[in-house]
Each structure stands twice: as structure tokens, then as C-alpha cells.
């Protein structure tokens, strides 16, 4: 504890000492990170997939170009929507693709009912998990052209010089698997001049271990995103924005059929603490997936703007959805995921 001290001296040389101390808060102040969930291709989400408090989520991941409007209508708390459309947006479609994406922005911000949507961000990537589709070799020239035209279209200026769509950011949706295993980061650098953000699927690498989930260190599958951001900044200095577009895990144990709670031995404290921090029943203290990624982004002066949980995993081997621990009440993952939203 630092101290300042001194004296007061009178004309006769008599001295009165004085001192006082203070503390300085050195806790790093992190930029806020919202949490969210998906509005999957089977929208609207059924109640057991998206508990009622989903209406409070600030971030939503959508997979169709016509879904953002529906998201805003259903989730009044939403602040940002991450959107792709693998079925309608051709990643090598050139101007036609760019025009279709710009049309979405026009409709969202200038179409019917748009007054209610002016303050909501649209984060756009042409292709969901793009590096799962191009796993080797040089990216097609038409793909880079399409990215450029889309970027330019969404960043067009009005006659007064102001951005037409100031709430839109363009990005690439990458996967931890391809970044780590097939080096998709360097391969996609050719696209980076035409992005504002890096989005991604951050699935834990042992989430599908069966019957026991391997709750591994976050760095094993998350750090590659931050390493890639640093590399991408050699092409796009100032690149800061990031978002988790998908993450998820089963609860502690699965049966071969995929149903949770194999033999009634599930540790219900594992998944919630792994994702949102805390000490599980074995005494293991987790920083939390959410907290880890918010911190790691800050360390490289990036901004993890939001994190969305993929709540629609229907693969029976990987029962991710929130509903599997809903019986845990406030100790389940879903309410904790919402509560930590910054």
C-alpha cells in the first residue's frame, strides 16, 4: 500500500509529521461480451431448445438471410445478429451474391418496420464454417472476388459520405478444427482485406468423447483463434472484433444412444462451471469458457463482442442442448449463460 508523508514545520523548527495511504485497483477492465444462442434453420426454436429467458439474449446466430427480421420480432433484447446463408448465398457467386446480401441489409435497415432495427448490428459472413468447405489449396479467385464485392457493398457510402449501413460488419466464420489441423488461417489471409471481424466455431476438442466428456483446457482449441488474429493483422492492421458463433458440449456423461446421464452418474456441475466459471463438485475450479475467451481477446487488444451457444445439436452422440440439464434449475447452463452476459 503506497504512502505519502511529510511534515509541517513552524518558525521555531517544531515539526508535526503527517502521512496517509491509498490503494490502486489494477483489475483489468474488460470490454463487455454479450452471450447468445442460435436461431437455427428450424426456426422458431421450440421451447425445450430455447427456454423462455432466451428473449433476453443480446446476441443471436441466424442461418438464413430472411431470419434477422424474425429474430428482432421474437427477441426484443437482441443487439446483434450473426448471419450466414449457405443455401442462398453462393460463395463464388460474385456480384449476384454481393447484391443479395446488400438486399438483406437494405430490407433490414430501410424496409418495412426498420425503425425498430436501426440500433441492431448485423454481422455477416457469406458462408457458415467456411474453412470446413475449403480445406486445402488456394482459395478460388471467384471466392475472393465475392468477398470483396460483398464487403464493398455493405460498406458503401451515402451521398453525404456517411456509411449506408453503419451497424454492419463483415467477417469470416472459421472453425477451431480447420485452424488447428489444416492451417486454414494462412490460407484465408487472402480474404482478410475484406473483413471487419473473425467469427468462429469454438467446439471443445473432446466434447464427443463417449461416454465421458473430456473437459480439456480452453487453450487447446481456443488459442488458435487469437494466434490467427495476430497473423491476420499483418494483412489488416487494426482488426479487433471477434465473436464465438458456435460452441457447445454435452453434459458430463452420455449413453451410447446419446441420451445424457449414463447410468445416473452425470456430474451436473461440470458443464455449467466449465462454460461459465466456478468450482465443480470435484473441487476443480474453472475460469469458464466465456471468461477465458473474453480475457484472451483483451490480451491481444481484440474485442470478443459476443458468444453464442449452439443449442440445436441434434446428433445423438453429442447431446448439447440446454434442455439436458434444465432440471438443475438456476444451476443449469442456460440461466448461467444468460446471467454472465456482459
Amino acid at each position: 500500500m503506497p504512502t505519502v508523508s511529510g511534515t509541517v514545520t513552524d518558525s521555531s523548527g517544531n515539526v508535526a509529521p503527517w502521512s496517509t495511504s491509498w490503494t490502486v485497483d489494477t483489475t483489468p477492465v474488460l470490454e463487455p461480451t454479450w452471450t447468445g444462442v442460435d436461431w437455427s434453420t428450424v426456426a422458431p426454436s421450440s421451447p425445450d431448445y430455447c427456454p423462455t429467458y432466451s428473449t433476453a439474449y443480446k446476441a443471436i446466430r441466424a442461418y438464413r438471410n430472411d431470419h434477422p427480421r424474425d429474430v428482432v420480432a421474437a427477441y426484443p433484447g437482441v443487439k446483434v445478429i450473426g448471419v450466414t446463408d449457405n443455401q442462398n448465398w453462393n460463395v463464388t457467386g460474385g456480384q449476384a451474391t454481393a447484391d443479395a446480401i446488400v438486399d438483406m441489409a437494405i430490407d433490414f435497415y430501410e424496409g418495412s418496420g426498420s425503425a425498430a432495427r436501426q440500433g441492431i448490428g448485423l454481422d455477416v459472413a457469406i458462408q457458415n464454417e467456411t474453412d470446413n468447405k475449403f480445406t486445402s489449396g488456394t482459395l478460388p479467385a471467384a471466392m475472393v472476388t465475392t468477398q470483396r464485392l460483398t464487403y464493398e457493398g455493405l460498406h458503401q457510402l451515402k451521398a453525404n459520405g456517411q456509411p449506408r449501413f453503419p451497424m454492419v460488419d463483415v467477417g469470416l466464420d472459421m472453425t477451431t478444427y480447420q485452424l488447428r489441423v489444416n492451417g486454414s488461417g494462412p490460407r484465408y489471409k487472402v480474404m482478410v482485406p475484406y473483413i471487419d471481424a473473425m467469427f468462429g466455431s469454438y467446439y471443445p476438442i473432446h466434447r464427443d468423447d463417449n461416454p465421458v466428456v473430456n473437459w480439456g483446457d480452453y487453450g487447446l482449441y481456443c488459442d488458435v483463434f487469437y494466434q490467427t488474429m495476430l497473423d491476420w493483422r499483418t494483412v489488416k492492421p487494426g482488426l479487433r472484433k471477434m465473436a464465438v458463433w458456435e460452441v457447445g458440449s454435452p453434459i458430463d456423461r452420455n449413453m451410447p444412444s446419446g441420451a445424457p446421464n449414463n447410468g445416473g452418474t452425470t456430474n451436473w456441475t461440470k458443464r455449467p462451471t466449465y462454460f461459465t466459471g466456478g468450482t465443480d463438485s470435484t473441487g476443480k475450479t474453472w475460469e469458464g469458457f466465456y471468461q477465458y475467451n473474453r480475457r484472451k481477446a483483451q490480451e491481444i487488444n481484440a474485442w470478443m463482442r459476443y458468444q453464442c451457444y449452439w443449442n440445436r445439436q441434434d446428433n445423438p452422440i453429442i447431446p448439447n442442448p440446454f434442455k439436458h440439464d434444465a432440471a438443475q434449475g438456476t444451476n443449469a447452463l442456460a440461466p448461467r449463460w444468460l446471467a454472465i452476459s456482459g
Binding site: 503506497p2 504512502t3 505519502v4 508523508s5 511529510g6 511534515t7 509541517v8 514545520t9 513552524d10 518558525s11 521555531s12 517544531n14 515539526v15 508535526a16 509529521p17 503527517w18 502521512s19 496517509t20 495511504s21 491509498w22 490503494t23 490502486v24 485497483d25 489494477t26
Partner: protein, 89 residues
């Protein structure tokens, strides 16, 4: 001759990095007083000009002997019995 007394306080106990810290040192002395000395000047024609001035007895000199690693700057609002310093946390 009485000894001076002094107390020092900061405007907060805890600061964020970069925040302004305000140190106030209040001091007193039983012997301290402000006196006025006055007089006149008279010319040969008998014209008189009055003059006066004040002086403080035992004003007390405030010194910082250990800064705690900060640079403390005396502020303009300081008085004969209160010295105010600022530093950056």
C-alpha cells in the same frame, strides 16, 4: 512556543489507474496569528499617506518527505492552514 499539528487525507481510499488523487494537509498552530502592521508617511507639507501590511506568525511550512512514488503538485486553492496537492494514481 506551541508545536504545530497536521493531518493528511486523500479524497478516496482506492483509485483506478489514471485517476486524480487529491491530498489535503490541514495544519494548525496555537501560536499562528496574522498581524497587521500599519503606519503613515508624512511629507514636509504635512500630507499623510497611510500604509499597512499583514504578516503571519508561525505560518507553518508543509513539505512532502516521501511521495509514495507519485508526483504531487500544489494546487492554487491552498491556504495558510490547508495545502492541497494532486497526483495521478
Amino acid at each position: 512556543m506551541a508545536n504545530p499539528t497536521a493531518t493528511a487525507t486523500l479524497n478516496k481510499a482506492n483509485y483506478a489507474v489514471g485517476e486524480t488523487m487529491v491530498l489535503t494537509v490541514n495544519h494548525a498552530d496555537a501560536d499562528r496569528q496574522t498581524i497587521t502592521v500599519a503606519g503613515t508617511v508624512t511629507d514636509s507639507a504635512g500630507n499623510v499617506a497611510n500604509w499597512s501590511t499583514t504578516a503571519t506568525i508561525d505560518a507553518g511550512v508543509v513539505a512532502i518527505t516521501s511521495s509514495g512514488g507519485k508526483t504531487w503538485t500544489l494546487q492554487a486553492g491552498s491556504t495558510a492552514s490547508q495545502s492541497i496537492f494532486n497526483a495521478v494514481a
